[in-house]
Amino acid sequence: MSRKLLIEHAEVPGIASFETYRKHGGYASVEKALKTMSPDEVVDEVKKSGLRGRGGAGFPTGMKWSFLAKPEGVERHLVCNADESEPGTFKDRYLMEKLPHLLIEGMITSSYALGARRSYIYIRGEFMYVLRILEKAIAEAYANGMLGKNILGSGYDLDLVVTPGGGAYICGEETALLESLEGKRGNPRMKPPFPAVKGLWGNPTVVNNVESIAAVVPIVNEGGEAYAQIGIERSTGTKLISASGNLVRPGVYEIELGLSVEEFIYGDDYCRGIANGKKLKACIPGGSSVPILPHYLVTKTAAGTDRLMTYESLADGGFASGSMLGSGGFIVFDEDQCIVRNTWNFARFYAHESCGQCSPCREGTGWMEKVLFRLEHGMGTLEDISLLEEINKKIEGNTICPLGDAAAWPVAAAIRHFRDEFEWHVNSPQEAQKRNYGLIQAPLEA
């Protein structure tokens, strides 16, 4: 059983209230940081911890913080990205709903480290009920002197505001989020300049995921080095994994990075295997944007070693035989699932969520969706499969923001590993309407 640094107290009755949270050791990091540490010392602890951004990109949080420009007389901001919208990911919602004060505590400690005096939590509009939980918790924090002027007598002032989106996946991209937070359409910005130099209202800004900010709490409490002891190599600490799909026990789990994928899927402490006694067909380990893995590459790498829940091990084999940890949205497919249907489904998602600003994404995502629709509905040709691969290559890397890549990678990976199933849809369209293809064979060793 993994140690839990974030959600250990999540199921304690009343933990969403300030009082109960405080009784369970809450706000210790604020006291420690504001009373005994300089802002730079907090940044150093985060650097030492090896914490990597938990929103999906995995960029070292401490390094991101150190890029923040600090011109004299210019306000800085910390913005929490609570726009959790990556299909397969629902950990932040769990954390905020159960432990609103953990996020607020992380926001205070992190804002102090960055010298931000006005910080924002941007939460997706669909989580309005969570926003209300957070608003209530923020009011409690103000009432108890954790927010506002002169927090704990330290002389440090902080205002914290939570504000909603309105239904747009793209606002999870940090510059689109900032546009949205300024009350505009969520069109990602051209970079450079990066938010660390010109962010919210043109001020230097750090945007971090909910879980990254929450992780600052145990890092400050126990020290960055202690945090870095957990995990393997450059995958330090614990990670929230959102498990969904055909599992006996889907849900949110906090794991120590380095746990084996085998243990996570089949272990009693975790997902307890595939639902209804079925076999595993495929797995998308890091949210819908990362490459899908066929069953024979899920628990073992192509080289035959155990696949682990780490940034490195899940990426082992590159795009040829690996995937990514991403946001930790772990989606499991049983043998009855149709890969073509699912690939079309995700392509439809990306086409729906494209902001429409740049041509490769606006036109390319819609085109892929339509071709995949035909393939799934028995109207595709073999040329369509190669066409998809070509559209993919023309989108990937050519767009303003990563949504283009996020739309392209899953289609490329699905065709790479499940080409036989795609061709079967073309060659036996009537049969494909009636039954599922079943498991795909691992390629024979050369």
Binding site: G125, G167, S244, P250
Partner: protein, 175 residues
């Protein structure tokens, strides 16, 4: 594909309730001076809470309140998919149709609700009680299939739960 969105007719700004106005003024106050436009999404949510949808007249009023051009409100309201720009039923059922929910039966859930309410996706029941929509991932993937109505999540749905849910919504809307 015909992509026309027919042009709407302009309408005079409409008034909001005292409660909505109080909420709007509260959230505008959360942002620094001169940055009141940041409150626009929250304001549109409040407007939708009051009227069920966001009309041209309501958007024109929001433009006045924020001292911006009406087109800036239209641009924002049409970008974000949560805002209903046409009248809807009393209960808008927004069913998640994305991958993880689809793996656990969202297709069947949608068909069942269509059959049960005798409407197709995008339509409203004759009595104006329900509108059925499909939406992309709502961030409840481990608890699918699911839908959202009035910001509330209804998770791990099956036929019995849907029946109960619809009955409860009908009763609440009639009372």
């Amino acid at each position: 594909m015909k992509a026309d969105h027919p042009q709407a007719v302009n309408e005079a700004p409409i008034d909001f309730s005292a409660h909505t106005m109080a909420e709007i003024n509260r959230v505008i106050g959360l942002f620094p001076e001169g940055k009141q436009k940041s409150a626009i999404l929250r304001i549109l949510h409040f407007v939708q809470d009051e009227f069920g949808w966001v009309s041209v007249g309501a958007m024109n009023r929001v433009a006045q309140i924020l001292a911006i051009e009406p087109i800036e409100v239209y641009e924002v309201a049409t970008f974000y998919t949560m805002f209903h720009l046409d009248p809807v039923g009393k209960n808008v059922l927004e069913v998640c149709r994305t991958g993880p929910c689809q793996l656990v039966g969202s297709d069947d859930l949608i068909s069942y609700i269509e059959e049960k309410l005798d409407i197709k996706v995008g339509e409203t029941t004759k009595d104006g009680m329900f509108t059925l929509k499909t939406v992309e991932c709502l961030g409840a993937c481990g608890y699918g299939p699911m839908l959202m109505c009035k910001y509330q999540f209804y998770e791990r749905l099956n036929k019995e739960k849907v029946n109960e849910m619809l009955d409860a919504m009908r009763a609440a809307s009639n009372s």
